[in-house]
């Protein structure tokens, strides 16, 4: 049992199980957020891509404005705006191929819209006529996820399943700086790395979790540094530089697609609006701070680049704005209609086959509705808001 009984067995060697594993150096993010716009690298950017991104950004900003306006008109229960974060939203959508999957958080309706989802369907959750307003399979967009970070393991599981089936599918999952503190963030990243699942995690670090600033959320050098502890690369990027975010995400998606495993991307950005229309941001941040970010607006950064490269003139700007206005007008019009409501839907999708118990409850509601209709036959259900 001891050396005195086993002479010569003493070896000042490292513990046998110890093998230096991954080299941590390549996993570490750069010290500064990666930027493209305004740098020399921007010169190599594809003009078509930049203009496409520009159109998305302009429409995205307008979309945020219109959705916020709809809350004031009582047409949305609540709206968590991504104004100021459009570069991340748009780049996330555009970095994916058609067969890939997007896992948005509750703030990421714009990413879903940029991926092709009808904005009315994207806003169903926030209007309140149903939860998920779309068939996730149609555009391969998971339900907008409200419990923070809980969608991240879903993305890992889906990507893993696709790989097991031999399908060429990458999942991109979005989460906020606050969400990185949740246990589900940790477990998802760990599973992804162990399984080498084709997933990209995009953290939009917009400085706040509602009122809580990043400094109270983490003491890490950056959120991207969390990647090292899972054995995946961490990338830090200027989240308002749409070209940079698009490039970093596209790289990460390609790496995942090629079997290189997951990547964690932290995009540094800022939430220009309050947390939601119901929030009072003056309680926890100054106008001055917001102002400093006005000078780093994602649309402005891209416009400057495009202008310098003579890709943007007043007519392009006007055309994009007009397109944005059309989108907004259409959205407004359609959101101003009362959605069709059927209270019996409460019981339709709880189980594949309705249980006897739910049938009974459905009958009760049906009888109540019939009685009410008799009492006031002129009020169709859809209009009772």
């Amino acid at each position: 049992m001891t050396v005195l009984e086993q002479p010569g067995s003493y070896r000042p060697t490292p513990p046998p199980a110890w093998r230096p594993r991954t080299d941590p150096a390549p996993l570490l993010p750069d010290a500064e957020p990666y930027r493209v716009l305004g740098t020399e690298a921007a010169g190599g950017l594809d003009a078509g891509l930049l203009l496409r991104l520009y159109g998305h950004l302009v429409r995205g900003r307008r979309y945020n404005g219109q959705a916020t306006a709809l809350t004031r008109q009582g047409r949305l229960a609540v709206y968590p705006s991504s104004a100021g974060q459009e570069a991340c939203e748009v780049a996330a959508a555009l970095a994916l191929q058609e067969q890939d999957w997007l896992f948005p958080s509750y703030r990421d309706t714009l990413a879903a819209v940029a991926r092709g989802l009808d904005p009315v369907q994207a806003l169903t959750l926030l209007r309140g006529d149903w939860h998920t307003g779309y068939d996730p399979h149609e555009h391969r967009i998971a339900p907008l996820c409200t419990p923070l970070a809980t969608q991240l393991p879903h993305a890992v599981g889906l990507a893993h399943a696709a790989r097991l089936k031999g399908d060429d599918v990458v999942a991109l999952a979005m989460v906020g700086d606050g969400g990185t503190s949740e246990g589900d963030f940790h477990e998802a990243l760990n599973f992804a790395a162990v399984w080498r699942a084709p997933v990209v995690f995009l953290v939009q670090n917009n400085g706040f979790a509602i009122s809580v600033p990043l400094a109270k959320q983490t003491a890490a050098p950056s959120l991207a540094h969390k990647a090292v502890g899972y054995g995946m690369p961490g990338r830090l990027v200027d989240g308002n530089d749409v070209a940079a975010v698009h490039e970093v995400l596209t790289d990460a998606v390609r790496r995942a697609r090629e079997g290189g495993g997951p990547t964690l991307v932290e995009a540094v950005t800022y939430r220009m609006d309050a947390h939601t229309n119901a929030d009072d941001a003056t309680r926890y941040r100054s106008e001055a701070e917001v102002d400093t970010w006005r000078g780093h607006d994602p649309i402005a950064l891209l416009e400057q680049e495009l202008t310098e490269r003579k890709l943007l003139d007043a007519s392009v700007v006007a055309a994009e704005r007009e397109a944005a206005e059309r989108m907004a007008a259409d959205l407004r019009d359609r959101m101003n209609q009362d959605p069709p409501l059927d209270p019996m839907d409460l019981f339709t999708h709880v189980y594949a086959q309705q249980t006897a118990q739910l049938r009974e409850q459905a009958e009760m509601l049906r009888a109540e509705l019939a009685a009410a209709a008799e009492a006031a036959p002129a009020t169709p259900e859809g209009a009772q808001r």
Binding site: V78, G128, H131, P147, L346
Partner: protein, 338 residues
């Protein structure tokens, strides 16, 4: 929403204000009381219940935590181990779920597993229930989970005065209390003098909110106003309903409830939580066990449907309303009497 401090004279106050005042008074009286949670500091909580506490007591006493509910409750357990009295805020009912392991495996059992050496004088404030137009995961009624976990107290106020009194009692308790705050009553107001708070007989006592003789409505939290309204409306039908507000689900005040049911001979339990596996089953079973021969009819339940909480535009069809309560009263086999 006004968040001005409540002054110490009888005036109109909302439930949120009374809760805020309870926290403030408890913190002022006892330096071991610490508030922690998401956005409880500068923001004052999303419902403003912790408004002003950070200014008055500093960040060490009222702490914005990282966004992690298991971490919040888990560190609160450690704080309680060291003799503090943490008051934890869960931002919404459904967002307490990540903390369930800490709750079930530690908070509820620590006293028992250490033979009393490590009590858990923790209060966990959970805004709960629907009726506020919240999107999914913002309107759950999760009291059944808490009731099924021995070692916890489960308390819920339905009035402004109880909000103050019960929260003070919860914080003063040497046992962990899950303090369920009915979201849709946060802005309900009442004349209330915090200087002489209406006597609240501590945790574990129900209150008879309306005396009656025909049948007993048993309810709590968000459904109390519904039951009071139903009781008024029932007089038109000739029913004189008694209304019992449980206030405390654990411990359960069998005495008050059974005394009422023995008097009236009929009972309807009303709550928002789903019916199947919800609190009403336990209450009905218990009443029936104890008062069987006093019952003229089976104890009935009016509850949320057995479905995930509906989207805002459909929630009114789900929530137990006055009509559904009256329908249940009508089914209490009155014909048997005549």
């Amino acid at each position: 929403m006004t968040t001005a401090p409540v002054r110490a004279e009888a005036r109109s106050a909302s439930m949120a204000q009374a809760l805020n005042r309870a926290l403030r008074d408890a913190m002022a009286e006892d330096p071991s009381v610490h508030v922690l949670g998401e956005d409880v500091g500068a923001l004052g909580g999303v419902f403003r219940v912790t408004d002003g506490l950070v200014k008055e007591f500093g960040e060490d006493r009222c702490t914005d935590t990282p966004l992690a509910e298991a971490g919040i409750l888990g560190t609160a357990v450690g704080m309680a181990m060291y003799g503090l009295r943490p008051v934890v805020e869960m931002q919404f009912d459904a967002f307490a779920y990540p903390s369930f392991e800490q709750l079930i495996s530690h908070v509820a059992r620590m006293r028992n597993r250490t033979r009393g050496a490590m009590p858990m004088p923790l209060t966990i404030r959970v805004p709960y229930g629907g009726g506020i137009g919240g999107v999914e995961h913002h309107s759950d009624s999760s009291e059944a989970y808490y009731m099924a976990t021995p070692g916890l107290h489960v308390v819920t106020p339905a009035t402004v005065a109880d909000a103050y009194g019960l929260l003070r009692a919860a914080i003063a308790s040497d046992d962990p209390v899950v303090f369920l705050e009915p979201k849709r009553l946060y802005w309900s107001k009442a004349e209330w003098d915090p200087g002489t708070p209406e006597a609240v007989p501590g945790i574990g006592r129900a209150a008879v909110r309306r005396r009656g003789t025909s049948a007993t409505l048993i309810t709590y939290g968000p459904s109390l106003p519904v039951c009071m309204e139903a009781a008024e409306a029932a007089t038109d039908e000739g029913w004189d309903l008694e209304v019992v507000d449980l206030r405390s689900l654990v411990p359960f005040d069998e005495e008050t409830v059974c005394a009422s049911v023995r008097r009236t001979g009929r009972a309807v339990i009303v709550h928002e939580s789903t019916g199947f596996g919800g609190p009403g089953g336990e209450i009905a079973a218990r009443i029936t066990e104890r008062c069987f021969h006093h019952l003229e009819a089976p104890v009935l339940r009016v509850a949320g449907f057995d479905i995930p909480y509906p989207p805002p535009m459909l929630e009114r069809h789900h929530l137990p309303g006055v009509d559904r309560v009256l329908d249940a009263v009508a089914r209490l086999q009155w014909e048997a009497e005549s």
